[in-house]
Symmetry: C2
Subunit: 156 residues, 2 copies
């Protein structure tokens, strides 16, 4: 797929999220970048601030989870799969407070592969994979991380 | 503490959350009940719906995390501790879709005790404890669970 295809899919994902999942509008969600392997979502601090003036943990987790979900959705769409994608479980670590607008960066987790995931989906109509998502913090260290397992089920 | 004290603290917590943490207004958060051992928060499906018509996972996690945070805040306030309380990490399981308005029920996790937590806080000015939170689903089975570790630090 070309960079133009990726940009078009990223724009369509943003429209879908904002139109069909109202809580994403409260987050102020934006799709920042997509290159086929990494999806980056962004949100402003102002809409997601807590009583201490930094980002509310629930908003960080929402953006992280949506980044993982979106990464899988885009990978499936690009390969012609029509699926429902659900988050099954996740582990979140809040490592440092976030004092600015923030991003959530999603990639496939270590040890996972699109080939294995898509082969299982083609064979059984259902497959699981894990995604690793990070909110970058100061000096390159992560401010929050999430590892989540998602299930995809073919429709119809 | 009397039931009247608990109700007053619950009402004050709701005011604090809605005034000081704007994302709680988007959730439509309400403090439903507090009895000194269990805190129950509630949110409407309409504000938290996803593309499938059930509750958005990020909203479930936000309400679960806030229930855990609130449980610790109220316990500390009742005992005269002035602390900052932060979530450190959490594990979330999404067990069943939620098709209605929902609640998040927070209690101290198994193996934890307020006495041990408060003793550590009094001695070192900082302490950790784990909270177990559940979104009840149909027929008494949980629809989502969260176990989270919180840190409290005395102020000043």
């Amino acid at each position: 797929m070309s960079a133009t295809d990726h940009a078009a899919r990223a724009a369509a994902l943003q429209r879908f999220l904002l139109e069909r999942i109202p809580p994403t509008r409260a987050l102020g969600l934006r799709v920042a970048r997509y290159d086929g392997a990494t999806l980056v979502l962004a949100a402003p601090l102002a809409a997601n601030v807590n009583d201490k003036g930094c980002a509310f943990g629930g908003s960080l987790t929402s953006l992280l989870t949506l980044a993982g979900w979106g990464l899988i959705e885009l990978a499936l769409q690009a390969r012609g799969f029509d699926c429902d994608v659900f988050v099954q479980d996740s582990e979140v670590r809040y490592l440092a407070p976030v004092w600015n607008d923030f991003e959530a960066v999603a990639t496939l987790a270590e040890g996972e592969s699109w080939d294995a995931f898509l082969a299982a989906l083609a064979e059984r109509g259902k497959a699981r994979t894990r995604v690793a998502c990070t909110v970058p913090g100061d000096a390159g260290a992560p401010a929050a991380t999430l590892v989540a397992r998602f299930v995809a089920k073919r429709r119809g």
